[in-house]
């Protein structure tokens, strides 16, 4: 059983560009959450998708947007990249719940903005 997979593993972009990161959830999971982990910090919640809708959102600007497909895979899009967007982007999948369910994390996509 494949766990959570993310692509690409690494990415280099320049300021002002746009980027799309992809995530495939663990088999049987239909909820996907995205996190940003800056160097030396803990992950910060960006948003969560369930049934192709954004269910909850953290404190991130509208430049960060997402999408969930019918097969439950998800994309994270970031527009007008800033140097400060350089980070490890983590995707986590789970079954729907009220906070008790375990989130399974992928290995992440490391984004460097020059």
């Amino acid at each position: 059983d494949a766990g959570v997979t993310q692509s690409p593993t690494h990415l280099i972009k320049t300021r002002g560009q746009q980027v799309t990161l992809r995530c495939s959830p663990k088999s049987g999971h239909d909820t996907v959450s995205w996190y940003q982990q800056a160097l030396g910090q803990g992950p910060q919640f960006i948003f969560q998708y369930y049934e192709e809708e954004e269910r909850q959102r953290g404190n991130f600007p509208d430049r960060f947007s997402g999408h969930q497909f019918p097969n439950y895979s998800s994309e994270l899009n970031v527009n007008a990249l800033l140097l400060g967007d350089s980070a490890l982007y983590l995707c986590a999948s789970s079954i729907p719940g009220q906070g008790t369910e375990t989130q399974y994390f992928g290995p992440g996509t490391r984004l460097l903005v020059l």
Binding site: V4, Y35, G42, F45, R55, G58, Q103, F105, P107
Partner: protein
């Protein structure tokens, strides 16, 4: 809103010594508490979690954590560490609104 404070950014310890990684949280509602471990160049793996019931929770690799409501703490302990325990450890808190908040992490370095 909830928040998490991990009191030590780095904890160096010798192999086979005991270790405690400290975590305090703040919240106005009931919470669920988690410890995740992150090995170099990998994603996060769940180590253990407290949802309800017994305040002492254990992992399969010898770690344990105790939920202390009066002190709003969820410290992680292991009586004897191994070189392979070297990693970054994150404490996290979550409530019914599903918004997971992580601490800044504690880097545990086990020396031979």
């Amino acid at each position: 809103a909830q928040s998490v404070t991990q009191l030590d950014s780095q904890v160096p310890v010798f192999e086979e010594a005991p270790v405690e990684l400290r975590c305090n949280y703040s919240s106005s509602v009931s919470v669920y508490l988690f410890w995740y471990v992150q090995y170099p160049n990998q994603g996060l793996q769940l180590l253990l979690k407290y949802l309800s019931g017994s305040t002492l929770v254990e992992s399969i690799n010898g770690f344990e954590a105790e939920f202390n409501k009066s002190q709003t703490s969820f410290h992680l302990r292991k009586p004897s560490v191994h070189i392979s325990d070297t990693a970054e450890y994150f404490c996290a808190v979550r409530s019914n609104n599903n918004d997971m908040r992580f601490g800044a992490g504690t880097r545990l370095t086990v020396k031979p």
